[in-house]
Symmetry: C3
Subunit: 347 residues, 3 copies
């Protein structure tokens, strides 16, 4: 556990300290759960009461908030960003030791950059390239001729298959698989025949990929994830997809083959997108939605069923099988209704 005095935190983070400069701070916590040796932060007038009741030993706050609080404060212009820096300072993630762990198995002709950290039981295959300052957690696998850029962080047990290319500062979480074969099949007489999958996966700079997410290599061309894209856990991205820069995709999403998603999109959790579609820039797909058509205008799109008590659902859902008949019955009634003025059919 690291221990910082309030004064040392101020020296590292900037801002103006109000209160006991010698107070010992060991970690960061939320306002609700912080103890006397912990740091928290407050942004927004609505959290004022929580802040004044918090047991936190030190609060990061703006001058305006600090003026309303009888607490030790580190006063800064942007408490949220400074708190994030403080969290990294107080809670450094454990990394493998400098250099290459003796149990790692590195092909002779692999290129290993300067200042790497390579953990236990890592396997780096022939011709692979590991950039300067990159970290490979325990049990990672880097396939033949794969290239990982500088200052990347691969958490334990990440698999990057042969020939894939990753940019700088990429972060990959445990269990993700970059570059498995796409699902390419051709029906031949009486069985499925495998279509060779020889494209690569290209991940741009600053891409982050969540735990147990899978990104398939392209069939012939590459599967491309542009710079700044953030992918959560358990996502499936099929062969030949193209995801535009700074798009964020939440957990459990599936994207079928050859679909192109634009830049600055946000795809909600568990959304499913079929193959060979084009989704333009700045589209938001709501969680749980199913996308089966191109989307050509920015905006929010949705296709989920509302939840009901099961008995209500049973009564209502039965009619989904008869909507067409229901609509025809309304039309029939309209034809015979006394007041024809009401009979405007929409569309």
């Amino acid at each position: 556990m690291r221990v910082f005095s309030s004064a040392l935190l101020q020296a590292r983070l900037g801002g103006v300290l109000r209160g006991d400069a010698d107070k010992k701070i060991t970690s960061a916590a939320s306002l609700e759960n912080a103890r006397a040796d912990q740091l928290s932060f407050v942004v927004g007038q609505k959290f004022l009461q929580k802040a004044s009741q918090s047991d936190a030993g030190l609060l990061i706050a703006t001058q305006a908030m600090a003026d309303q609080l009888d607490r030790d404060c580190l006063i800064v212009a942007n408490p949220h960003a400074v708190f994030a820096q403080a969290v990294v300072l107080l809670h450094p993630a454990p990394l493998p030791a400098s250099g290459i762990h003796p149990s790692a198995i590195i092909a002779e002709d692999a290129h290993i950059g300067a200042d790497v950290r390579i953990g236990a039981a890592v396997v780096v295959e022939r011709g692979a390239h590991i950039g300067t300052g990159t970290v490979l957690g325990a049990q990672c696998h880097v396939g033949a001729h794969a290239r990982i850029g500088a200052h990347a962080l691969l958490h334990p047990r990440v698999t990057v298959l042969h020939g894939c290319e990753l940019g700088q500062r990429v972060i990959l979480h445990a269990g993700c698989v970059i570059g498995a074969d796409g699902f390419g099949l051709a029906w031949e007489d009486d069985h499925w025949s495998k279509v060779p999958q020889v494209g690569r996966v290209i991940l741009g700079d600053d891409v982050e990929v969540g735990a147990n997410t899978t990104i398939d290599r392209g069939a012939l061309d590459d599967t491309v994830i542009e710079a700044g894209v953030k992918l959560d856990n358990q996502i499936q991205i099929a062969h030949n997809c193209h995801i535009g820069r700074h798009t964020a995709i939440a957990a459990c999403v599936g994207i079928a083959g050859s679909t192109r998603i634009g830049a600055y999109c946000q795809i909600g959790g568990a959304a499913m997108i079929i193959g060979h579609l084009e989704i333009c820039d700045r589209v938001t797909v709501s969680a749980g939605s199913f996308v089966a058509k191109d989307i050509k205008s920015p905006g929010i799109y949705t296709s989920v069923q509302p939840l009901m008590a099961h008995e209500d659902w049973k009564r209502n859902a039965a009619h989904l099988r008869h909507l067409d008949a229901l609509s025809k019955r309304i039309r029939a009634l309209e034809r015979t209704a006394p007041n024809q003025a009401n009979n405007k059919e929409p569309r």
Copy 2:
């Protein structure tokens, strides 16, 4: 393969044996598939015929059922529970050998309890704690300062990341990832900035986690799975979720960040639950349902579409885009209908 005589099974399991005490039994099977050297069981009058036609060498049954069957029987009060014991006896799961496999890589300062079994190519990082009698299957990874309680069973290739805390008798299946970073992002000018994720995952006693399931660490506070919770395969639990004791969650479920699910709930397969919700105790969510609101009363909740032949679906689904217009047309008809008594609009 183990071989038990009927007499030895009776000695180990209790009950009264009727039939050949020397019969050799090698394994357990269902009534339909059992052979003459296999044990099966029968509960419920409706399975009487299947039992009388089964080739099983020995049946576990109540006295009442045994009286109707001309077969070797082990007669007990609770055949289901005794059969489960017999299955464990006949089919012991293979475990790593006692002690620590020479290929395992254990940090010098890790605490390893008595009577552990640690398999090949396991990595235990510095400061980790492995409880008494715990089993780590081949290729498991236990991160720095993680703590695993006594008598836990980690199947091969499980990843428990740094600082996470697991209770006693926890069972983790292959490929699950405990403690990856949550999906914490803040938009800054022109890109996503990573919000540090420094909370832990806390698993209570007797929790079971399925294959390739992912549970993210909390952002600041912890992600908490209470005692007795059972999670199936391919589940995603996001940062800061809290799952109450003895809740069971089927495969492919996704639960977004900071959602709290009560105790004794049952979440059906592939259900998706958005973030920051509260679901009370004793709620059942049907398989495939989408939960986007708090649930405040126990009961069964559902939101799925009924399956149709594709042609029927095309005809019906088109109207889903026009339900609001349909409803307005009905209201218009009601206004002009001759018999006003029928025109009660619900809700």
Copy 3:
């Protein structure tokens, strides 16, 4: 990188070469992206223009297409199949070296067939059987007494748990887990009790399993995937399922316990199928659909919601909670409508 002359490609692939026999070809690419040292192919009149504009150094084409193209061509009867052969020739997947990598940990009594390739950090447990010519990528794990047939290809980091049986020419992708415990629970007084899972997973010949897919072992009997079945990534197949031969299942599908799916079916991505169902041969389930009933006739089945702009969805979805009331209001109107001839209620 391999380099072939056009003449050498013709010698290996057959067909008639038209153009420069000495041209150097290094790889295969799509018509759009091919460079002058790359091979591509053209099938179908509608791709004629793309082919004539392509920079590809050599095109595989039929005589009829070649006659319309002023390009170097390898003329064959079936360009698609010959191109697939060419792709494998030009892009051989890197395999582990022949024999057993010194870092692999192989139980003394494991049976290792002739001509295997076993990669770094592989673990093969006691009594396991690896067939002739089979490849185990780095970090694979084969459990005790598991059997893998001849000429199988396990990509890096595949887990096959104890006792499972795989046929010949099986292909398993990174991160898949074959034979984890099924989700067998029995409620006892105040907690869930684990039902032992002692069946196996049986994979027939030529089965392919995608990255991070999980197939659970049977509870007592086996989970069976018949010959020629193709499974994409992130699929969950629960205990005791039976999948008929040559069925193809796209990514993110979940199939609950004891369901039987027939032969020659196609299950679209993210479809969810509940337990204890029977689906007959030659059924297509559309992507994203939810199957909660037996399917007894071949055909296409669907149950998805159409996507809408979020504001339209809000207006329309509200009525899903009142479809039953809507239907009753229509019936009331019909009872009082002047022209009774129109009032035929369907179904």
